[in-house]
Symmetry: C2
Subunit: 417 residues, 2 copies
Amino acid sequence: MEKTSETNATNGELKDVKDAINNGSVCGYDSLHQLLAQNLKPELFQEVSRMLLGLNCGKLLQSISIAEPVKSLSLKHDFDLQAYSFHADKESFRESRIVRVGLIQNSIALPTTAPFSDQKRAIFEKVKPIVDAAGASGVNILCLQEAWMMPFAFCTREKKWCEFAEPLDGESTRFLQDLALRYNMVIISSILERDVSHGDTLWNTAVVIGNHGNIIGKHRKNHIPRVGDFNESTYYMEGNTGHPVFETTYGKIAVNICYGRHHPLNWLAFGLNGAEIVFNPSATVGELSEPMWPIEARNAAIANSYFVGSINRVGTETFPNPFTSGDGKPQHADFGHFYGSSHFSAPDASCTPSLSRFRDGLLISDMDLNLCRQLKDKWGFRMTARYEMYAETLARYLKPDFKPQVISDPLLHKKAT
Amino acid sequence: MEKTSETNATNGELKDVKDAINNGSVCGYDSLHQLLAQNLKPELFQEVSRMLLGLNCGKLLQSISIAEPVKSLSLKHDFDLQAYSFHADKESFRESRIVRVGLIQNSIALPTTAPFSDQKRAIFEKVKPIVDAAGASGVNILCLQEAWMMPFAFCTREKKWCEFAEPLDGESTRFLQDLALRYNMVIISSILERDVSHGDTLWNTAVVIGNHGNIIGKHRKNHIPRVGDFNESTYYMEGNTGHPVFETTYGKIAVNICYGRHHPLNWLAFGLNGAEIVFNPSATVGELSEPMWPIEARNAAIANSYFVGSINRVGTETFPNPFTSGDGKPQHADFGHFYGSSHFSAPDASCTPSLSRFRDGLLISDMDLNLCRQLKDKWGFRMTARYEMYAETLARYLKPDFKPQVISDPLLHKKAT
C-alpha cells in the first residue's frame, strides 16, 4: 500500500486555504452554518444539522424574532445578530427558569499604533451599541470576549501593553457597571487586571458585575498558554481564585477563560461547584485552533450537564513592531485571523449556529436552566463518575516516583514466527 | 420577542428525521463525509473539511490505496472499506513509529431468535473475512466493537443472554488468538466475560491479544450506563481493573469501553498511564447519542495528546420479547439503529471520515505515534494542567459535607430599581 491520492487540498492549493482562513475569499461565506444552509438541499441540511448541531427529533432549536430597533442597531453598526431558543421539558415541581443570555464578539476599533487611551475609548464606543442591542433585547446575562478592552498584544512580548491593565474597579468595569444597572443585566467583563494591593501584579481576570451594577466578584484565568504566538506567560501567572461559581439573580455562572477550555479538569471543577452556565471568553486564531473550537465547548457542556457560551474575538490585529513566534516562522506583525464563531452549547449535546467568522456580533439565546438537572437525571454522569477512583489516581500521579499502570506483553521482544 | 420560525424540521417532518436516523431513506447517503463530499462544490467541501475534520494547511489527511484482493473481499462480503494516513513531522532523535491500525464494525448475522450457538458461530463467520482483510492489509493493531460476539441484548433485562458470557480464554478469544498469530497482529476483543474464579460474576471486558497469539491482559469497563434502553447495570458492575495501558509490539494502547467515553476523567487516567492509542469499542443508537459521537472522541484525543479509535456496531437488532425503556415509551422489541460511523481522532485535532452508518466496515489508518509527544510539546497541556489543584478539589468534593465554592451576589434579592 502506498499513498496515492489526497482527500483534500494539494500543496498548490494551500495558499487558497490560508486565504480562506483569513478572509473567506475562496468561498465567500460568513459562517459554517450559513455555508451549509446555502449550499445543501433543505432535507440534506436538516440531516447534517441533526448530526452536527445535535438538533434531534422533537428537540428543535428555534429562532427568536428580533425587535426592529435592535435590527436597526445591527445594520447601522454592522454587527452580526442572531437569536435562538433551546428546548427543555416542563417539570412538575419547578417553574421553568428561562434566562436570556448574550455573547459579544468584536474586532478592535483603531490601529494598534494609536495612543492607548484613544484605542480604549474607541473600543468602548464600538462595544456600546452592541451592549445596547443586548439590553434592548432583554438579555439577562451578557459576556464579552477575553481582554475586550485592548488589542490582544500578548504575542509581542513587549511590556508597554501592560499599560492597558486596570484595577478590578477601573474604567472598563465602571463603563459596564453603568450599562448593567441601566439594563438590569449581569455582565461578565474579561480584562487585563492590575492588582495594586499585591505589588502591581498582573492577572487575566473576569469581573462579574451584578444586575444592580455592583461587582459580585472576580475569577482569574487558571491555565496560561505557551504555544505558538501566545506568549501570555510573559505577562501573567496562573490564577489564584479556584473555580468560583457566581450566584446571580439569573442563575449560577462561572468563567473558564480562553486556554482553560483545553483542560477538562477545569471545566469539571466549575461543574462540581454547581455552575449552570460557563462562559469561555477567548482570543484564538484559525490556524492554531479552529477545528478544536466547537469540540471542546460542546464536550464540556455534555460531560458536565451545563450550558457553555463560547466567545472569540474577530479580525486581524497588526502591531507596530514585528515579532517572532519561537516556532521558526519568519518575523511577522500580526497574530493571524481571530475567527469569531461565538456560539452556545447545551447539556443535551445541541448547539446554536456560530456567529460570523469575520464580523462583530451579538448572539442571544434563551435557555431554561432546568435543562441541566434534566440531563443529570437522564444520563447520570455524576453518579457514575467514580470520583473517588480519580482522586486517588491524581494523588498517586503527583508523586515524583509515580509508576504508570502498564501491562507489558511478555513476548514484546520475541520475533514473529 | 416571541418564537416565530424554526431553523429545522417542523413537527410534521419528524417522522422523516426518524427515518433518516434509522435507514438514511430521506437523504440516501452512507455517511456524513460522503453526503458533504457529494453535495458541496470541491472548494466548499475543502473549507468545511478544514473546519470539521481539522484538515489544516500542510497537515493533510491522505487516502491509502487498498490492494485488489482486499477490495475483492469487501465487495464479496459487502463491507465498507476505507484507509487513511495521518501526518506527523519527522524528528531528529527518534525514528518514525508508524503503525497501521484497524477498526471493525458489524451487524449481527442471524436473528436473535436463532439458537445462541448458531448466532455466535454466524458472527464469527461474518467477522472472519473482515479480519482477513485487515491482516492482508498489514494492520498491526485491530479493535472490534463492544461485545462483538453477541447481540447487544442488555436492553431486554432478560438474564438468558448471560449465556453468551465466556471466560477470558473462551472460544471468542481462541478464535481471535489464531488470527492474531497468523497476521502478527494485536487484537482487542470486547466480550461479555464470566469470571469463574470469582463466583461466576459477569463483566464487560476487553481482552488484549498480543501479536504472537498470547493473551496480554484484560480491562473491565469502568462506567456502567443507566440511561434509556441501556439497562446494562442489570448485567454487570463497574470494572475493577483500573486504567491499564498495554505495552504491545506496536505501541502503548488502552481501552475505554463504550459509556466510559462520557467521562473525561476516564480518558485522562489512560493518558496519565501513557496510552498512545485509546480504543472506544461501543454500542450506541442514533436518537440517544449521535451528535455526541464525534465530539467526545475528538475532545479526548485533543486533551490527552493521543489517538482515539471509535467503533460503534451497526444495524437494528430485534429481540423476541418486547421490553419497556423505563422512559415512558411504548413497549418495543428493538434498541433503535446502531449507527456505525467508526472513525479515528488524532491528537492534532484532525480525524478521519467515518465508516458507513448502515453497513459493516473496516477502517484502516496509518499513524505515527511520535505525533503524541509532538503535540504534548506544542500545546503543553500536561505541564499547564495543575493536577495538584484538581487532586485537592476532588478529595474535597468527596467529603459528605463538601461546600461548593459559590460567591453569591449580596444584592440577590434586591428588586430592580
